[in-house]
Symmetry: C2
Subunit: 248 residues, 2 copies
C-alpha cells in the first residue's frame, strides 16, 4: 500500500488496523514495546511515537510500568468527516440528502466581510441548504464563501455533490476550522423547512474554515435539530484539547 511513509506512521496505521479488526480488543493490554520493536524490526523511537499518537487520540491509556490498555475502538472523527455532512453521514451508514434552498451572489455585509477577512461590498456567494439524514430533515446549513471560492460553487452541481468534495477537486483544501456552539430558537422559515414549531430550540454551530495560508474559505451557520444530532467531546486530565467554554 504505502511504502514511503515514515516508519512511525506505518506503525500507527498497523496498530489502528489491529484495534479496528479486533486483534487488539477493548480492555486488552497492548504488546510491550520490546515485543513491538522485535516484531516490526525498528528501534524504540518510532514505536513510541506511534503509541503516543494513539494515546493522544484516546485509543490507548495507562502505561507507566505496565503496558497500555486499549481504551476505545472507535477513533475520533477525522477532520474531513467532521467538516463534511456528506462524508459524515456516510461514515455512520446513513444516507445523506439535501435540498438547495438558495444559492446566490451578493455584496458582503460589513459583518460578513469581517468574518471572511475581505473588504465590505466585495462579492460573496451564499448557499443555504436543507440537509437530510435518511430522508428526514436534520439541519439547515447557511454557508458564505468569498467569491474566489464561491464562483466554483455557482457553477457546480450543488444538488448532487458535496461542496467539500467540489472544493477539494479544485485544490481548495480546508486545514483549520473554528466552531462556536450555542443554541438558538428556530426562525419561522427554518422551522418550516425542518418541520418543527417556530421557536423550537436548535443546536447552532458557527464555523469558520481556513486554508493552509490562513485565508477564510467559508463562514457557516449550521442549525441542527437536537433530536437528530449531538456533539460529543471527551476530555482527560492528561490531554488538553482545543476546547474552551467562553462567555458569549
Amino acid at each position: 500500500m504505502s511504502q514511503n511513509l515514515p516508519l512511525h506512521t506505518q506503525l500507527y496505521d498497523a496498530m489502528i488496523q489491529r484495534i479496528r479488526s479486533g486483534a487488539w480488543k477493548e480492555g486488552d493490554r497492548v504488546p510491550s514495546e520490546k515485543s513491538l520493536v522485535a516484531e516490526f524490526g525498528t528501534s524504540r523511537g518510532p514505536v513510541r511515537q506511534a503509541l503516543a499518537s494513539l494515546r493522544a487520540e484516546g485509543m490507548i491509556v495507562g502505561g507507566r510500568g505496565a503496558p497500555p490498555r486499549v481504551q476505545r475502538t472507535v477513533p475520533a472523527q477525522s477532520f474531513d468527516t467532521f467538516l463534511s455532512f456528506t462524508e459524515w453521514a456516510r461514515s455512520i451508514d446513513r444516507s445523506p440528502g439535501q435540498r438547495v434552498i438558495e444559492a446566490s451572489r451578493r455584496p458582503a455585509t460589513e459583518e460578513i466581510a469581517r468574518e471572511l477577512g475581505i473588504a465590505p461590498d466585495e462579492a460573496v456567494v451564499e448557499v443555504i441548504r436543507l440537509r437530510l439524514l435518511d430522508g428526514e430533515p436534520a439541519m439547515i446549513e447557511r454557508s458564505v464563501h468569498p467569491f474566489w471560492v464561491g464562483r466554483h460553487l455557482l457553477a457546480a452541481d450543488l444538488d448532487g455533490g458535496s461542496i467539500y468534495q467540489t472544493l477539494l477537486a479544485l485544490h481548495i483544501a480546508p486545514v483549520r476550522a473554528r466552531h462556536v456552539i450555542d443554541a438558538v430558537a428556530a426562525h419561522p422559515l427554518d422551522a418550516e423547512w425542518l418541520g418543527v414549531a417556530a421557536g423550537s430550540p436548535l443546536l447552532r454551530a458557527r464555523r469558520v474554515t481556513r486554508d493552509e495560508h490562513g485565508g477564510v474559505i467559508e463562514s457557516a451557520d449550521d442549525r441542527y435539530l437536537p433530536s437528530m444530532t449531538t456533539f460529543v467531546i471527551e476530555n482527560t486530565a492528561e490531554h488538553r484539547i482545543p476546547l474552551t467554554r467562553e462567555p458569549a
Copy 2:
C-alpha cells in the same frame, strides 16, 4: 518552584511562560531547536518533546524545515477549568456565584443507575444549583453522584465552595469526562430561575465524569443561557481531537 519534574515538562512550562509573557509573540518564529538545546543545556529529545506538546495544543504550528511559528497565545483550557464552573469563572476574570436549589439523597432511578454504573435503588445524591456570572444567572447545573461521592457533598458547605474543590480535597479526582452537547427548550422551572421565557432555547451539556479507575463520579446536566456562554472548538487537518458529531 519545581525541581523534580521531567526535563521536557520543565521546558514546556518555560516555553508556555514565554508565550504568555509575550517574549514569544503571536506570529513570531520560535527559536531553533539548536539554540533551545544550547540555552537549556539538554539534548534534543526533551526540547522536541516540549515542542510536540505545544504543537498538540495548537500553540505553535508549522515547522518542517523552518522553525515553527507561535499560533495562539491563549492555551486551551485545562481539564480543571473546563470541569469546574468556579475555576472557569475565575480564569476569565468573572466572579462566580451560585444558589443551591436542591441537595437531596434518593434512590437511583433505573436510568440514573445505568449512567452511574450502580444498581437500581442504590442511594444517590442529587444537587441542583443555579450558577451566576458576575451576579447574573448563567446556567442551571443538575448533578447526580453515587453515594460514596455524594455523602461528602451533603456534609459540605455547598453555598461557599466548589464541588470540584471539595472532592479534590478528599482525593476524589476526576480524570476523564464525556460531554454530550445539544439544545433543549427551557422548562418552566428552569426558565424562572434563569430569568427567561419558558421554552427559550438552552445549550445543554450532559457530562459523565470518571475517576482514574473508570468509576463514575458524577452524571451532570448543565443548561446554559446561550447569551451567556458558548463552546468553542478548534480543529485542524493534522490533529484529530476527541470530538464527534453523532446522531441523537
